[in-house]
Symmetry: C2
Subunit: 230 residues, 2 copies
């Protein structure tokens, strides 16, 4: 990645996307917020520029935002994931990495956010891998980082992001971007199929959060200090 290549966040007007954008913007990373509506994207971009003075942020349609960098983040609710991926068929090109943050909460079909749906392919990320154009690689990440914590400018992060994907090099590129956010450590959780498990952490954390009135994250203990991604 060139140091000036921006991070496109599709679904960047949602809670998770906006929270990530805010953290990256504070770290000096240029951001492209994507949305299904250009005016809402531009609105969110203006809001972010106001919140983080000097932030380099633009707002575009998802399909346009998707072309702005090699690594693209998809942060939409599960309910809208398939529709978004359909819309991106012409926008994504071989060689790109799509980072899927989708969690198949039962809330997508008016169920509970503490329960999940079974996805035919095994996980939302594997569904995404099936739907992206050939040559586009899906990496799954950022399921357990809470939007309220990201949005709270005073909240210090100190947690892990479990990354799933079939090639370490792809995961490493995503890890480097994620670790630009202070307090996040990217952990290699295995192949993309491991998203079946990692995506499930979110309903568990939502359940814990309601019980403890907290914003819990995940941290793995016992890992070596060495940089896994070097």
């Amino acid at each position: 990645m060139s140091p000036t290549e921006p991070i496109p966040i599709l679904g960047g007007t949602g809670a998770l996307g906006a929270g990530l954008a805010r953290r990256w913007a504070r770290a000096g990373v240029p951001i492209v917020l994507g949305s299904r509506a250009a005016d809402r994207a531009e609105e969110a971009a203006a809001k972010l520029r106001e919140a983080v003075p000097g932030a380099e942020v633009s707002g575009l349609l998802n399909e346009e935002a998707a072309g702005k960098a090699e690594v693209v983040f998809l942060a939409v609710p599960f309910r809208a994931q398939s529709e978004n991926l359909n819309n991106l068929r012409e926008a994504l090109r071989p060689g790109q990495i799509l980072v899927d943050c989708t969690v198949p909460l039962a809330a997508a079909v008016s169920g509970k956010a503490t329960r999940s749906l079974g996805v035919w392919q095994g996980s939302a990320a594997q569904q995404a891998q099936e739907m992206v154009p050939e040559g586009v690689t899906v990496v799954a990440a950022l399921h357990t980082v809470g939007a309220p914590t990201l949005a709270d400018a005073d909240a210090e992060l100190g947690e892990d992001v479990l990354i799933c994907g079939d090639k370490k090099a792809d995961k490493a590129r995503v890890a480097r971007l994620i670790e630009l956010i202070e307090g996040l450590r990217a952990v290699n959780a295995g192949p993309l199929e491991m998203a079946r498990i990692v995506e499930q952490l979110t309903p568990m954390l939502i359940s814990v959060n309601s019980r403890y009135k907290a914003h819990a994250g995940i941290r793995l203990t016992g890992l070596p200090d060495a940089d896994h991604w070097a």
Copy 2:
């Protein structure tokens, strides 16, 4: 629990059971190791008495061990869980709590330890709840604590145990026992059905362990300091 009530560990000759027994014995808790064979149980008990001088440990058949306290731990491989529960039908009595530590690893059917099996009831713990005599309550716990770490007398623990069960009072009793082991914090992860998710953490950790050459555990960040179980 009376302070002298022992902790029966069914499958106490296995790696997890033996590791837990060692930690509890070091904390001064009397232990009853259960096994399918009385001589192997007594052998394991002798070994533990040698390793932890002054430890109060006996070895019994699982069915006998199961009657020695109100809270009983079941630490057997998934392959043997149903058989063990069948054998316990006459041994368990109403009012008891069975703490199920079973993880449905695909290794049970010669598959990978980084993958899991679908259990009809949703989780091994829910299968246990279906199989225990009426009036016995199943609580799920201790899936993510690694046997090698428990067995290593020099290893300091500093991780969470996610506890699932339908009644907070039952979970609290189990939490108190678990927290007798230094370095373990018991976290209320929700109703027993949440074991569907918590049991899945083990194959994920096994995958991480092989990649990082580590013995990883789980820690939730962002929880309040107050004693949840008080």
